[in-house]
Amino acid sequence: MPPPEAAAPPEKLLGERIDSVARRLRTRFVMRACGLGALVGTSVTALSLALSVRGAHGSVAAVLGAAAAAAAYLQPARPRWRPAAAARAIEAARPESRNVVITAEELRRMPDRARSWIRSRVFADAARAVDGLAAGAVVPLFRDGAALGIALAIWTIAAAGVVQRLPGIAWPPVERAAPGGSPEGERPPRLVATVFPPAYLAEPTLTLENPDRINAVRGSRLVLSLQSAGTDWRIRFGSRPLPARTENSAVTVELPLVEDGYLAIERPDAASARRLVPVTISPDGGPAVRIEMPARDLLVTRATGSLRIEASARDDHALHSLELRYTKVSGSGEQFTFREGVLALEVNRDSAREWKGRSTLALSAFGLEPGDALVYRAVGRDGRGDEGLGSSETYFVEVAGPGQAVPAGFELPPDRERYAFSQQMIVLKIERLRSRERSMPRDTVAGEAADIAAEQRAVRAHFVFLTGGHVEDEEEEAAHSHEIQEGRLENTARREIGLAIRHMTLAEQALVAVRTGDALPSARAAVGALQRAFGRNRYLLRTLPVRSRLDPSRRLSGDARSAADWSRMLPAPDIDPAARAGREILTALLDLAERVSMDRQRVESDALASLAERALGVDPAAETWTKISRGFLSLRDAVDAGLSAPELMKRINEIMPLVSAEAQRHSSGSWTMSDPDHVVRGIWAEERNRR
């Protein structure tokens, strides 16, 4: 059995050392190659960003460049990590070995060059020379590793687009489309909108970057700036081009905001870059003022005592004042006198927007006589002065005149009821009360009669004001109305109205006296007179707490002999602009769907951008139209990106329900299938009629 052939320990030790150093040499060169590749990749990435190379093309080019550089470096360097090179490195690290390591390495490769005992001697010397030698000391890797790490970090930072996102860097964003949509490669510049609210609001300036929408109070001023834009960018407000100034590569426009609209930011002949920003203007509403107490009209027997008044006001921005204004009305008939005044309220400010005020009116201080009235209202004001004035409903306190009965606790009916009285209704109520009064306590009957009397008074008051005021002898006045209005058409209607008023007065008096049996004939007679006056059999008359002025232009006048046929010109039908636009856009959308499904004609992004603008132009303040506009822009971007037909159809179907709903909004009913049994039922009806 031959003895095991084992390398001499010195040779083995030497081999291990040389191999270890060779591996580290190889590692060093690989690290250097990678570092070089990272530098090349960083350069390519920076170049592609500077050239705005689209999509992943820049990244792919960077990786390929890096790989090519690394390979180009490694290929000629391969001999430099072989054992001979390792031996040279060891010799360089241990110069005292006097080339014995190099000799030993050569003998390892070419053992025939020396006799065995010489080889053993050389190996032994070389082993001693490398004994205790650390490979790391021969080939240190720290510097190369650090350099590699730095190079890779730089590449990563550049590829991630961190640098160009830093403020002040003018590079366009990477893989980020601006709101409102624009395809890659057509990125609009950064849009900065600054809204300056009206000075009187004293509100801070609002700055928006790349806004989806701009909301502002009417009267605000908008400064719009396109940062780092070329000089060929244009800005329109609707169809109106805005004059722009260019400073430091920024295009700036200014615009007073007084109406809804949209801003179109575009470059000529580049529909895919068009960007639309709706602008919604909210008016500064006037203060909403209410009288909280007593919030009703009052009829008092004497002008004594006091009246506590509480008012509240609310404004959408800020209130500036709240006060009570009154008018004292004296006299009767056509001899009224008016005196106006202002009373301060004790104001409690819950916030700048909500105030409450209270005051106590001493009625005796106004010098009210029987038959006089005090009309009052609360008035609030916001920062716009007289333009921002808000007034409460007007109430009045009336002092009962001579002979005027004032039922206890009388007040005019509350809101809902005082608007729906008719003389016919009063007749009906009296009839109902009469049918029940035998079984009712007297007090209850009196109460209900008083209520009806109040309603009767309200209806009567309307006619009194309608005819220009009460007269001492209504019947006599009505009978001679044709004499008074000489030259005018004899007005029998006026006489009948006068009669009706008189009957209403009688009915009211009977009701106050709880004599329903007397009240009913008078109320019916009033209805009859009204029927004769107007040729109608019922009237629903609104009574208003404020005495309205008569409009002479609405009084009957003219010569009956000149009356003749008249051919009326029919007004031109008006179709709601939003509905019309909805139908036109729906037609365009259906045509678009056809083109997409047939894939025969190319869908033009210019047309889609125009549709988006058209939709936004219908009502920039409406959320629906804004969504439709955005949908069209999204569709345009999809077309520009070359997406497939199903993807385009998906976007069309996102818009379709909105457009369809808008188009149908003002449609006259729905066109449904007619009754299939209609003819049979018609024959049946005919037969029924025949019998």
Partner: protein
């Protein structure tokens, strides 16, 4: 000796009797004549599968019912066997029992689209509804989504939840033709998990919209606010072409748009609807003209009262009296999809006469009373409004104008045109048969001496190259209605034109396209319905035993047959046998 003589004598007697050829008459069961009708496939329009099934039926009858049942006899039939899935209603004769052999049958869970329909002559810019009838078997608990699509774009969407294992539902899909023209639509029932097939879930239709306006005549025997504001609402809508006459006094009137100077059927015929305010001012002659307008012309008459009804026009109102209602607070009247009205003074019809329906109702004390009511009158209809003061609340958001526009539009659009043309399906696959129906309005008839003359009606179809094919129209049982069929062959766009007399022309478009979807091959319920209604059976092609049983049970006609026994083979055989026997007897005797 005696035996042979007797045998010989018998043989001679038989021979002599044969020369006399005696006969007698007797009755027996004959052959039942049955029609075998092969139906076209509702989906493809072809008959291939049905023909195969019909051959199987013939073979089965030949094997088992020879002499008892015969097909294809020109004589009166004892029954009909339909082979196919869709039995046309007109093919069923009420007094003849019919059985159906269903070709495509499945008992697996499935949702199928049976029919889709679109109102005739839709107007561009006005909302309309496509009605789809769908049926589900074994799909209880699931929800079907139905969409109306144009070129893949979804115009409308609706859904229906199935609660029964076998259920049929009608789904309405709102849509609008935004502009005049023709567009191909597809109704799609989105397939559910586990459906047997999705092939019957799509059906195509062609929507053809035009830009016509509805002609309205507003008549006020005296000025009436109640109708004035309706008129204004109509005048503001481009859908309506309004003509108005307001009689201020006996001598003075306000006219707009050239109204007729007096009422008669001829003068009112151009209008689709007549809106009458203050109808108590109508004279009896006026009421008669309006009644003729509704009855003969098929127009709609809308009577808007502003006071308690009186006068001759009450005969037009489908009500048995009125109640007057005054409310302290205005009530809201529900007008369904048309909107709502608000009114405080109302005239409420006491009882609706048969055929009448409420368009707007008042809820009182838990009861609903129709205040705006409608009823058919002849070919037309009458609408009565008892909301006396709804005009006062026209500024409210309840939709006073919208309500009246919707009601007037619905009534006016139902008024027939002088000549109408219906095509059962205008977007079909090649090979499908298309049915045409032309309807002449009664105003186009000529009555003379008690005889009604109907103008001649012709139909033709022209393809894109200008080639014209005439279509044979057959008169229906209803005067003025003509029907015909045409088989769509080559794909393309065809113009269907119908003419009546010399001046009436109506046309429409039919598109033949292989991509047209036909929905379910047939209504799965129709075979069973036909069989049940006529006394037949509905079977599948795979199991013809019930059909055989039914055919066997059909009554056979009794036949009187003259019978000649001497001509029978057995007669001759008996004679020969007797002669042979006589010869055999004699031979044995001679041997003995």
């Amino acid at each position: 000796m005696k035996g042979s003589t007797a045998v010989r004598t018998a043989a001679v007697i038989l021979a002599l009797a044969a020369t006399l050829d005696p006969s007698y008459v007797r009755e027996r069961g004959g052959t039942a004549r049955v029609d075998l009708v092969v139906l076209p496939d509702a989906g493809s329009g072809t008959r291939s599968a049905a023909r195969e099934a019909a051959e199987r039926v013939r073979a089965r009858v030949r094997e088992t019912l020879r002499g008892r049942v015969s097909f294809d006899s020109p004589e009166a039939t004892a029954g009909v066997v339909f082979v196919g899935d869709a039995v046309p209603a007109e093919a069923v004769r009420g007094n003849v029992p019919a059985s159906v052999v269903v070709v495509h049958a499945t008992d697996q869970p499935n949702v199928r689209l049976l029919t889709v329909s679109l109102p005739p002559d839709p107007i561009a810019g006005r909302a309309t509804e496509v009605t789809a009838v769908i049926q589900a078997d074994g799909m209880a608990g699931t929800t079907s989504v139905v969409t109306l699509e144009h070129a893949g774009a979804v115009l409308s969407r609706s859904s229906h939840r199935w609660t029964l294992d076998a259920e049929r539902a009608e789904v309405r899909l709102a849509c609008m033709a935004p502009s005049p023209g023709v567009r191909a639509l597809t109704v799609v029932v989105q397939p559910l998990e586990g459906e047997a097939t999705a092939a019957d879930n799509r059906m195509s239709l062609l929507a053809s919209a035009d830009a016509r306006r509805l002609k309205i005549f507003v008549l006020e025997p005296r000025p009436s606010w109640a109708v004035a504001f309706i008129r204004r609402a109509l005048e503001a809508d481009p859908l309506f072409d309004v003509t108005a006459l307001s009689q201020l006094s006996q001598e003075i009137a306000v006219r707009a748009g050239g109204p007729p100077r007096m009422l008669s059927l001829d003068r009112l015929s151009p209008y689709d609807l007549v809106l009458v305010g203050a109808p108590e001012g109508l004279r009896a002659a006026d009421v008669g003209a309006l009644a003729s307008f509704a009855r003969v012309r098929g127009g709609a008459v809308v009577l808007v009262a502003d006071r308690r009804p009186s006068g001759p026009y009450i005969s037009l109102v489908p009500s048995g009296g009125f109640d007057e209602v005054l409310l302290a607070v205005p009530a809201v009247l529900d007008g369904g999809s048309a909107g709502r009205l608000r009114a405080a003074e109302l005239v409420v019809p006491k009882a609706l006469l048969p055929g009448a329906m409420a368009l707007a109702s008042l809820e009182r004390n838990g009861n609903s009373s129709g205040v705006v009511i409608a009823a058919p009158l002849g070919d037309g209809r009458v609408i009565f409004s008892g909301v006396l003061d709804a005009w006062r609340y026209r500024a409210d958001e309840d939709g006073y104008a919208a309500f009246w526009r919707a009601q007037v539009a619905a009534a006016a659009s139902s008024a027939p045109r002088r000549l109408q043309l219906f095509v059962d399906s205008a977007f079909v696959a090649p090979g499908r048969r298309i049915r045409l129906r032309a309807t002449l309005r009664r105003t186009e008839f000529h009555e003379r001496n008690g005889r009604v003359d109907v103008p001649s009606v012709d139909a033709r179809i022209m393809d894109a190259s200008g080639l014209v094919q005439p279509v044979r129209l057959w008169p229906d049982t209803v005067p003025g209605v003509f029907e015909g069929e045409w088989e769509a062959s080559a794909p393309g766009r065809y113009e269907v034109q119908v003419t009546a007399g010399t001046d009436l022309v109506r046309d429409t478009v039919v598109v033949v396209d292989p991509r047209a979807e036909a929905g379910a091959a047939a209504d799965p319920g129709s075979p069973a319905l036909v069989a049940e209604a006529t006394g037949g059976v509905a079977v599948t092609a795979a199991d013809l035993a019930p059909l055989e049983q039914w055919l066997r049970s059909l009554p056979r006609p009794r036949e009187r047959v003259e019978f000649h026994p001497a001509r029978s083979f057995w007669w001759m055989l008996a004679t020969v046998a007797l002669l042979c026997a006589e010869w055999t007897i004699r031979r044995r005797r001679a041997e003995a």
